[in-house]
Every structure is written in C-alpha cells, then in structure tokens.
Symmetry: C2
Subunit: 212 residues, 2 copies
DNA sequence: ATCGTTGTTGACGTCAGAGTGTAGTACTGC
DNA sequence: GCAGTACTACACTCTGACGTCAACAACGAT
C-alpha cells in the first residue's frame, strides 16, 4: 500500500529521506488525523519501518508538528510573507498552496483544526481571515451579532471552498479565486441584507450573474 | 469538572441514567472526537465511574454509536420525517436541531464526519442536501465542474453556517434560516456567474441586498 | 425495619501502540 | 582495497486505555 516506492529502495540521503517521511506522514495523517494514525501506518506508507522514523524525529508529536510546520510554511509562502498581511488576493495563495499539497491542506484545516493541541496553528490563519473580514463586514452589517456570524463563517467558507475545489478536480485555477471571493461576498451579503428581503435558492435569471 | 451534578447524586432510574450518560458523552466526544476521548473522561463528565458505562453500553464504540444515533434521530425529527425529503425549508430544522443540542450537532458534523468508521451517518444528511442542491444547481450552472463544486460546497456551507450561528450566540432564529439560505444562494451564484464578471468582497451599496 | 434490587466502586487482566536497544549492510574517503 | 560512517531492520520493553470482576452502599416494597 506504500504509495511512494514499489521496490525496496535503500540508502536515501538524510534530507531526502526526511522529506519522503514528511510527505508520507502527510498522506497518512490526512486520512484519519493524529490519534487514529499509528507510526506503523506511517512507516508502511513511507516504505520503511517504525525505527527509522525515530532516527529523523524525536516522537510522534514531533513528527506531526514537523508535518504541520511544513504545510504552514508552504501556506505562508503562497499566501504572503508577513503575518497580518492577509487580503482578498490571498485567496489565490490559498488555492496555490492547496494545489501544491492537497493532503497537507486537508490535514491542516480538517484534522489539525479539531485537535486541541494543534489547533493554534490553523487558528493563526483563521484569525487573519477573520480579522480582515470583520473589518469589512462591520462596515456593511449593522447588527453586530450577524457581523460576528459572517466573520466566523467567511474564513470557513474560504477554506471549504478551496477543499471543494480540490474535490471537483481543480477546474480552471484562474477563475477559482474569483468564484470563491464571490461566494464569500454572498455570505457577507446574506449577513448584510435587511430583514425584509426574501431570497430564492435559485436565482430568477439563471446565469445573469448580477451584483452580489 | 462534571457539568451535570455538583453533589454525589446516586440511584437514578435506569433510563434517566442512560440519558445522562448519553448527554455527558455527547459533551465529552464533542471536544476531541472518538479516538482522543477516553472512557474515563466520559465517566468523569457524567460524575460516575467507568464501570457504570459498561452497565449501560456494550463498548466504547457502542456508546459512541448510541450518541450519534440519538443526534441523528433528533436531527431527523427536526428536519423531516422521511429520508430524501430535504428541501430548502429543512434549514429551519437544522437550526432547531442545532439549538436543541449544540454539542451533538458539532460532534456529528465536525468529528464524526472525519472518522471513517462513522462517516456514513453524516454522509446521509450531506448527500441529501447535495442531491437537492445539485438538481437546482445543474439548471443554472453550465460548467459541470463548477456545478459539482457548488454541490459539494452548499451542504458544507449550510452546516458551517449553522455552527457559526451557534458561535455567534444564536441571534434571532426567525431570520437565521433566511440568511443561511441567502448565503447558500450566494455560493450558487458564485458558481453560476459568467467568467467575465468581477466581484468586490464588499458590496458596492451596503445593505442594498440586491438579487443574489 | 428489613430484604432484595440496583447502582456504585477500586483493583485487575489484556492488548494495541509508542518508544528503544543490538545487529547488519551499503555508501564514502584514504 | 579498507575502514569509518550512517542508514536500515528485527526483537524487545513499557505505558496507557479498553474492558472485567468481586465487594459495598443506597433506595423501594412489604
């Protein structure tokens, strides 16, 4: 079941072996998260034995942290260098990072986000999107509770939209970012709309693409 | 840390004790999922010892299944009796169920959905929303890949919108369903929009609530 | 008030999985 | 060609969590 190497390859350079383990661990952890993935699972995935893992990493937690750090670094590279610099344009970076490392992206936002011990990592990105969204949302949403709702939902929609994009087979990346921004805009519009408005699930004029 | 009873209550009727265990287990499991929650954690949460759990449930898996079944039953009651009968109106049911059992709702869709062994339960609801959404989406989204994207994303947004609503303090339930439907409509509109359109994250006319 | 029923308890068996030695083998420098 | 180094593998120990057993305590019915 090892996805990496069919034959009993041996003697990889240390750095390369480490990268291979990290890649395999990313795949393995992405399936069921930290607790449900054993070191033997990862070893099999990497085509080695459990002991080798300890030659490269202190512990299971250390390995997991390294995997998450690698994904975070990748994300930071694509999204933007500085913390707090998250803007609308960063959606492109999110997509690029997800395309580069789908399993890592899923691991970070679907599993690590639910694990109390590692939740802080993903919260860093979430709060960035949350904050930038909250500033903009406060301007258009009068009701503070609904502004908070939209601020909570917007980051989630951004991330889930990227994951759904992966699931859909990564169709034309050039337009994905715009569509995701549109979806987020739709969420914000839903929070901003007056209580009198009513809405139909299906637009009246299909494909009209009116203002959102 | 037992949330249920401050004093050493004893001698509860069997059915009542079972319900109390289920409620405590729901809270405990909701924090970290199945694998990361020990039976002792649950016992402490319920204010009893581990052995009692086995007087009421065969195994940890059995207990977890009972917890999930209870939440599913609650959900089915609120959302609609018959399977396959999911409509736009079911959003109201989702909100009612989430309000009645927040921890259970989170457990079902945030944790159980990621656990391969129990994923089938949540997928039943997800596929219902997915199917009803897909039928409507296919009518307005020409590109099949983006139709699939929206169909994947719509159920997630529905559920995440409900969770965000819980996080925001459950503001005016009467309008929540409409706003969530609007948010889903925004997602579909994002998939339906032509490739020429451009969008701003913040609507041009705040509060205008134009067609979505 | 007492007996049976039921809930409760601390201590124990068992097993999967984390973490660790010792031995073997392939690449690199002299 | 040889020695040193470093990566690999098997067999082992140990912790922690699931699951179990005997004894104790409290409530209801007679």
């Amino acid at each position: 079941m090892a996805t990496s190497v069919p034959e009993p390859v041996r003697r990889l350079p240390r750095a390369q072996r480490r990268e291979q383990i990290l890649a395999a661990a990313t795949q393995a952890f992405a399936r069921a998260g930290f607790a449900s993935t054993s070191l033997d699972d990862i070893a099999v995935e990497a085509g080695i034995t459990k002991v080798i893992l300890y030659r490269h990493f202190e512990s299971k937690t250390d390995l997991y942290q390294a995997v998450l750090d690698r994904v975070c670094a990748l994300l930071a590279t694509h999204v933007g260098q500085q913390v707090g610099e998250f803007t609308e344009a960063s959606i492109d970076g999110l997509l690029a990072a997800a395309a580069a490392e789908p399993a890592g992206f899923r691991l970070l936002f679907q599993h690590a986000a639910r694990e109390p011990e590692f939740r802080a990592l993903t919260d860093r990105f979430r709060t960035e999107i949350h904050d930038i969204a909250h500033v903009q949302i406060k301007a258009v949403v009068a009701d503070s509770a609904w502004a908070q709702w939209a601020s909570h939902l917007a980051p989630t929609v951004a991330i889930e939209a990227v994951i759904a994009w992966l699931d859909a087979g990564q169709p034309d990346p050039a337009q994905a970012a715009d569509r995701i921004r549109a979806a987020i805009g739709g969420v914000i519009a839903a929070a901003a709309r007056s209580t009198m408005d009513h809405i139909t699930l299906v637009p009246d004029r299909p494909g009209s693409g009116g203002p959102v």
